[in-house]
């Protein structure tokens, strides 16, 4: 049950996991900096919790808003226990279809944004002697499929960064966890961008993916938020947590296939550094 009140900063609180997580943390008596590009969308929720809630404008692609939000959190709350990099969005497009601009824009939000927020928070986290950084990745950051390669690339990047940071920041008492949610009814699917120019060559693959997505059961995001609450601030949190039983199965299948492929090509791999 709720130990001492903790302080949070959560990005992307206008909807989805960010909003729900902020609400649940406030309910349990924690102090939360709710951030979004447009903080006006947070006022009604924050208003119910008085001084425990702090609404701040934070656009992860605008470093000055990152700096000022973090400065405000440390000034107002004195410390930051749990930083949640939640802001992000999806892209369904063949690599060949997506425009350069939309690909790079997605990387700015899904990868460089969290990186910038983490870098801005680290001096404060190190100075206070600890903290927990939670990066919301995706099952698409552990597995992939046709037409989501660019989105997956941004989330694989985030997973790689998280894993390294978990080691790099351990000496400072700072924990790092990446969360890989499967399909949840967060509104994420509705916010997925599609290719600027669709190519006929990929029509069938799009149709197949659309069918799969239409049949998918999107779980209640409250369950994923409980999973995040269960590990937030833990003494020994996982470095990578999968949220959702279907997502676990998907990752297990991919890991088994990778193991099998390693075994199949073992002789070629082993010979590579034996010349």
């Amino acid at each position: 049950m709720a130990d001492a009140a903790r302080t949070w900063l959560i990005t992307g609180c206008s909807s989805g996991f960010g909003r729900l997580l902020a609400q649940r943390a406030l309910e349990r008596g924690d102090r939360v900096a709710l951030t979004a590009r447009n903080p006006a969308m947070l006022a009604a929720l924050a208003g119910q919790y008085g001084n425990a809630a702090l609404c701040l404008p934070l656009d992860v692609t605008r470093p000055e808003t990152i700096r000022s939000a973090l400065g405000e959190v440390f000034e107002r709350f004195g410390r930051l226990d749990i930083l949640v990099n939640n802001a992000g969005y999806g892209l369904q497009a063949a690599a060949e279809e997506a425009s350069d601009a939309q690909t790079r824009a997605m990387f700015e939000v899904n990868f460089f944004g969290p990186l910038d927020v983490i870098r801005a928070a680290l001096p404060g986290l190190r100075a206070q002697g600890g903290g927990h950084i939670i990066n919301i990745s995706s099952v698409g950051g552990r597995t992939t499929a046709p037409l989501i390669g660019l989105y997956s690339a941004s989330k694989f990047a985030l997973e790689g960064l998280s894993l390294s940071l978990a080691m790099e920041l351990a000496p400072f008492g700072i924990k790092v966890t990446s969360i890989a949610p499967g399909a949840f009814a967060t509104g994420f699917a509705g916010a997925v961008q599609s290719a600027g120019a669709k190519l006929d060559a990929y029509r069938q693959q799009h149709a197949m993916l659309d069918t799969i997505l239409a049949d998918l059961h999107f779980a209640d995001p409250a369950g994923c938020v409980e999973a995040i609450l269960a590990i937030a601030g833990a003494d020994e949190p996982p470095r990578q947590l999968i949220a959702g039983s279907h997502a676990v199965s998907a990752v297990e299948a991919v890991m088994a296939a990778q193991q099998a492929e390693i075994a199949k090509w073992r002789a070629v791999s082993d010979a590579a550094d034996q010349q």
Partner: protein
Amino acid sequence: MSEKIWLVTGCATGFGRAIAEAALAQGHKVAVTDRNLAAVEDFALRYPETALPLGLDVTNSDQIAAAVDARFRNFERIDVLVNNAGYAVQQAVAEAAMPSVRGMWLACAGQRSYHQFRLGRRPGLRAVHGALCVQQIRGRGAERRVGR
């Protein structure tokens, strides 16, 4: 082995040079590319019939377009594409300069544009059986570019 047409990025040094050299030695045709054209021109002296040195910086989409055009003019197809160019930044996340981190990613993203241009232009590779794409990011040292 039947002759194949290769395009290899980052051929000035390292794996890129070794891959290009091995493919040429086996009788394949290879577009040997690097952002420093002078560093790959020696291939043409040793393999005047089969090596095509081209300047290609994976972060420069105009150069990618030009290289792909030249490739098709000269060899008409690409069977094997090797995305080798890459480098590593070794620094704590807190201390790495953002331009160097972004630069590394842009180099990787540039390779994506390369595929996109190449594939979007002609449906060639889509139909080519056994196309091989290898991407390497490697290196040691505080901040060192490797394989270019």
